[in-house]
Amino acid sequence: MFRWVVIGVLSIGLIGVSIWGYQEHQEKNEVMIQAENAYQRSFHDLAYHLDLLHDKIGSALAMNSRERLSPQLVEIWRLTSQAHGDVGQLPLAFVPFNKTEEFLSQMGDFSYRTAVRDLDQKPLNDEEIETLESLYEMSGEIEKEIRSVQNLVLKDQLRWMDVQLALANKDEPGDNTILDGFQTVENKVEGYSEGKIHSSLMGTSSKEDSYQMIKGDKFNQSDAKQKMREILGINQEINLNIEKTGEGAKVSMYSGSFQTDKKSGYLDITEQGGYPVTVMINRTVDRTNVSLHEATQKAKTYLNKLDFNDLALVESNQYDHVGVFHFVPNNEDVWVYPDAIQVKVALDNGNVIGMVAKDYLENHGERDIPKPTISEKEAREVVNPNVEIQDHHLAVIEDDTGVEVLTYVFLGVKNQDTYKIFVNAENGTEERVERLKQKEVKYEKRKR
């Protein structure tokens, strides 16, 4: 009797567990299929967009009427951005596919810049046509390869989930048909990017004159440590760890860090000249005793001590009990926006707890700032008459292509919004209009 009861209970238990297990299995499958479908969709979208991209570049080349060429280039720009988006949804991070992504974004930049240009005034020149030709060839190659991968995926029912597994499995990497296909695409693109395309047109030319202000002797470790202690204002008793940057760094730096009970700190200084690049002090700041205005003065004094002089305050913001200030050099009443410096001040005691001079060190140097060729009044007329101008100054900014231009900066109000409008001081074109938004209604936070 007893035996039968036990058997009965156990078998009911077994059946129950089996049903539960089966349901779990079903649910897991469902989730897997959904994830797989999302990948498949992105992949097939990508193939389709690349296909279309190739077609559109081809027709742009065959086009003779300029009125149609601009919309066509806009279409190319849209497709590159969509294809780029598709790539971002596939599990291809840490897979060498970046040359292709780079190609897509360069293609996008190129088509955007030519599309917004007045092609009646400045038609495509020979160099640009040539570039477009090679882009056409390249996109053709990519299309072909992706199409054959797509064919394999459909024919052999390959799953992107397996790609993910193959990538997660460190021991046998790369043994996956889809990944091999993408590798082939990458190799093809790599072959092309050497030569054939005019790099100046693709916006890949890097700035050559960066960090030109950095002069002086190279610091060795102990000198650097001494310099760091000076900047941080800490004595020998506090242990300072120091390390030199590797070959990937744009400019060779020493990084130092310290840790005490109450605070920790971190800073970077350049190897040559020992200029401070980044300073960060981390400690709790839980009350405000010092006004933002007073903190601004403290920030300025701090920067003067580090030999950053003649600065104009562009922006000041209070976040909880910390003030953050953005300064730019004021060069004879011309504000030099690319050379920005940021400073962070704790509002409990007014001490500086952070500084970044990366942009300043990278861009600052001898500049020939031209005199404006149009007057402020002429520039004012360029601005939308509905914007009520409240303030203005002269400034050097970087335009969309990264070239420095002299502009009149107008701060104006339209309805309730404030705008910053940059008008080129040499030819009167409206370089940029920014809507300044700085505050937001406070949202409730999750309860802690």
């Binding site: 993910q164 990937g248 990084s255 000041s316 209070q318 003030g323 970044v356 920014e434 406070k442």
Partner: protein, 292 residues
């Protein structure tokens, strides 16, 4: 008999609340000594905005954050009252403001606390300047509402002298509190237990990727790119971020980048991709190696 008692009680209560309101008006603490500057937040800014609105210079919300609207209002005020136009609320500006306007602290604070949509223009009935529907019942003077109002006023008197949190916050240009929250989640998931600079560096890498041509162009695109971050893959991104993750994100957005413009980082002990080791390294912070 009973009705008379209640009536007397009511009158006394109303009188008392009126008294406390008037005394309150006289006791209004004026601005503190600080010079109020663009970007500041807090009590003084609420008063500044209220007084500027009373005089008709400021048309925005009274929210305690010194934004551009307040800035232009203050400048216009300085211009009209013959002061130096610098957009700073210093000694002189504050004195002139105090002379020219009234500041009903209790009213303002109560409105902000209740989250009402309200204005504070001088010479207009305050009841008409708020969307508070509890106040609009007063044409129907039954006992119930009267009692309610009295308790409300008592409450507001009790809390007037507390500092009030502004109803808005500063956000860096181009980001919202929600963007910051998503990034803080990712940073916390990825760099929990790392030194503070390591967290800022991780946040900076996310932003560097947004800028880079080989990654998606939005913060969420970068964070949720499949396999890009282990914390996203294994769900650690949904852990509760601590305060330091949020501060780290804010620092990174404001320009701090201890990673040295890196777009990759990995933990050499747990990295699963061989390819990642081929990237040029910039530096090591905590357990992470930052590379381009």
């Amino acid at each position: 008999m009973k009705i008379v008692k209640v009536f007397i009680l009511l009158i006394v209560l109303l009188f008392a609340s009126c008294m406390s309101m008037t005394t309150d008006k006289h006791m209004v603490k004026a601005f503190s000594n600080q010079v109020i500057q663009h970007g500041a937040t807090g009590d003084d800014v609420i008063e500044l905005q209220a007084r500027l609105q009373y005089l008709g210079f400021y048309n925005g919300n009274i929210d305690g954050v010194f934004g551009w609207g307040t800035y232009w209002a203050l400048r216009n005020f300085q211009h009209e009252f013959g002061l130096e136009v610098d957009g700073l609320a210093g000694e002189k500006a504050k004195q002139k403001l105090e002379k020219a306007s009234e500041y009903d602290k209790a009213y303002i604070k109560n409105q902000i606390r209740q989250g009402n949509d309200f204005t504070y223009y001088g010479g207009i009935d305050k009841q008409k300047q708020t969307t508070d529907d509890r106040g609009s019942n007063d044409q129907n003077p039954n006992q119930q509402t009267d009692n309610n109002q009295t308790t409300q006023e008592q409450q507001q008197n009790a809390t007037t002298n507390e500092d009030l949190q502004p109803s808005a916050v500063n956000v860096p240009q181009g980001f919202s509190q929600n963007d910051i929250q998503i990034m803080a989640n990712a940073v916390h998931g990825e760099a929990r237990g790392e030194p503070y600079e390591g967290k800022v560096a991780v946040a900076a890498v996310i932003l560097n990727r947004v800028e880079s041509s080989t990654f998606p162009n939005t913060v969420s695109g970068v964070i949720f790119e499949p396999r890009a971050f282990t914390a996203v893959s294994d769900g650690q991104i949904w852990l509760e971020p601590d305060d330091s993750a949020e501060r780290a994100v804010l620092d990174a957005i404001n320009g701090w980048d201890p990673s040295g413009e890196a777009i990759y980082y990995y933990n050499p002990n747990t990295a699963t991709s061989d390819w990642i080791f081929s990237r040029k390294t910039i530096k090591k912070i905590g357990k992470h190696i930052f590379a381009i």
